[in-house]
């Protein structure tokens, strides 16, 4: 337990040192999307909501994915650049304690970015139903999945460049296609079938539905939870692989 706290606390102390830069950089892209797409798609209504009301839950889903996944960058810097990871490897720290600490740190970043997006939304007079448990649970599951994936991958890669490759080929495309900027059902059926297998599609659906106050589709939550647990245990398994 103490080891888990050490890992998490370390990430939080670093986050606190960079908090201004972090908040600023987390604000830039949602702000741009809200301005650019918001004006461009101004008159469009989707499912009876304005485009901006459609966009905010999408950005919440996307950013809880990308920010949770970004914990991989911090792990890589600690591993390949500062060699701090050796401190963890040489300590009597169980794999589960290490992974839990880093995953929770990734989820914390995700929640920070969500808070920023909701505030940005308020500036554009977007205020949806954020008090639902289902809304926050979907964010938690989304960030849990991608933080776990990030930790697992960070253990497997041999350099930071490998990690960056994965981000550009998997995370970024998913961010654009997984129901962030437009409804998935406007795509051809074959594309929808592919997107059905991406966790972000389900996360953005669940986050948007709960923000609109629609009834909860439990199957999405179950699916996300299963994927999350699989990735989490996968990450625990990968920690041993980080030894050369």
């Amino acid at each position: 337990m103490s080891g888990f706290i050490a890992v998490y606390l370390r990430e939080m102390l670093i986050l606190r040192r960079r908090i201004r830069r972090q908040v600023l950089s987390m604000s830039v892209s949602p702000l741009l999307y809200m301005i650019a797409f918001g004006y461009a798609m101004g008159g469009i209504k989707i499912e009876g909501h304005s485009y901006r009301e459609f966009l905010i839950p999408g950005l919440v889903a996307m950013s809880s994915m990308t920010q949770a996944f970004a914990i991989a960058v911090d792990i890589n810097v600690a591993r390949f650049y500062w060699h701090i990871f050796e401190e963890f490897q040489a300590a009597p720290l169980s794999n589960i304690a290490y992974v839990s600490g880093e995953v929770l740190a990734g989820m914390t970043r995700a929640f920070l970015s969500v808070a920023i997006i909701l505030v940005i939304g308020l500036f554009f007079r977007v205020c949806l139903n954020y008090s639902a448990v289902a809304f926050w649970l979907a964010i938690a599951l989304d960030s849990f999945i991608f933080a776990s994936l990030a930790v697992g991958l960070a253990m497997l890669v041999k350099s930071h460049a490998d990690q960056a490759m994965f981000t550009s080929f998997v995370i970024t495309p998913m961010a654009f296609l997984g129901g962030t900027f437009f409804p998935v059902d406007r795509l051809p059926v074959w594309a929808q079938k592919i997107l059905f297998f991406l966790p972000l599609t389900h996360a953005s659906k669940a986050i948007r539905a709960s923000a609109y106050g629609h009834p909860v589709d439990y199957s999405s939550y179950l699916l996300l939870a299963i994927i999350g647990v699989v990735f989490f245990f996968g990450a625990i398994h990968c920690v041993n692989r980080a030894r050369d």
Partner: protein, 278 residues
């Protein structure tokens, strides 16, 4: 305290370690001396769980490094060759996180951190960011960090590499003091004087094998007591002598320039391996 049996490590075709056997007694300061690429870091990395071994076994304080990994890890502190501190965190934060990793209570951490910081003369830099410290201070801090959880064994991988002579002496004094408190020390180095000055026993390591293990005095006296570097047919040669008298006799016949000096560990290493350490 440290027992290694038949330890091997290969990276593809490279045999980094080719069958290491050794035993370090409790309280001993053991130096592992060898040129770059000899396998010093690889040995420490395997013992501390950072690298997987290819064959062989090792025990730290009686616990097998892999089968009883978590127990073995509580026994030692590790100072790596490169400075692996969190540069954006403060001195105190770095030490506190280390204490937490080893399951120390808040009270124990506070007491031990203050004690170690006074010990290394950094108590007044407690709240400074690590990136603001000098190289020598950072090195002392990595040693203090490794000692926070009061380990029985301290691994030091080339602790004075890249530091100037005055700071090096200061680190040596610190290492000696730590040994005097009862800690077993396993130190790697490619500095002859470091092994000579600090070590109770020295292992010569060359290309992944131990060439010999003995006290620095015994190793040197096997070579001789005096050495004369002299020119012979345009080449620098070294001649070793057991007594000063033999050396003096040699000098009287010497026509070209020469230097008379005491034998050092470099001479012993050179005679046994045909190579220089540094």
């Amino acid at each position: 305290m440290i027992r290694i049996e038949g330890l091997k490590k290969s990276y593809g075709a490279i045999k980094a370690l080719d069958g290491i056997d050794l035993h370090v007694a409790a309280g001993e300061l053991f130096a592992y001396l060898g040129p770059n690429g000899a396998g010093k870091t690889t040995t420490i990395r395997i013992l501390t769980g950072l690298t997987r071994r290819s064959a062989g076994d090792a025990w730290l304080g009686g616990f097998h490094i892999e089968k009883e990994g978590l127990k073995a890890k509580k026994r030692f502190g590790l100072v790596m060759q490169s400075i692996n501190l969190d540069q954006e965190l403060t001195v105190w934060e770095n030490l506190d996180i280390h204490g937490r990793l080893f399951g120390m209570s808040a009270g124990e951490r506070k007491k031990k951190i203050d004690q170690m910081l006074s010990y290394i003369d950094l108590i007044d830099r407690k709240t400074a960011l690590v990136k603001q410290l000098s190289g020598g201070m950072k090195r002392r801090l990595t040693i203090a960090r490794a000692m926070i959880h009061s380990p029985e064994i301290l691994f030091l991988d080339e602790p004075t590499v890249g530091l100037d002579a005055a700071i090096r002496r200061r680190i040596w004094a610190l290492i000696k003091e730590i040994q005097e408190e009862g800690t077993t020390i396993f130190l790697t180095t490619h500095y002859i004087e470091e092994a000579e000055f600090l070590a109770d026993r020295v292992a010569f390591l060359d290309e992944g094998r131990i060439v010999t293990i003995d006290t620095p005095q015994a190793l040197m006296s096997r070579t001789g007591a005096w050495a004369i570097d002299h020119m012979d047919a345009g080449k620098m040669k070294t001649q070793y002598f057991q007594t000063r008298q033999e050396a003096d006799t040699f000098i009287t016949r010497q026509k070209e320039s020469y230097t008379l000096r005491r034998v050092n560990l470099e001479d012993s290493f050179l005679l046994l391996t045909g190579k220089k350490v540094g």
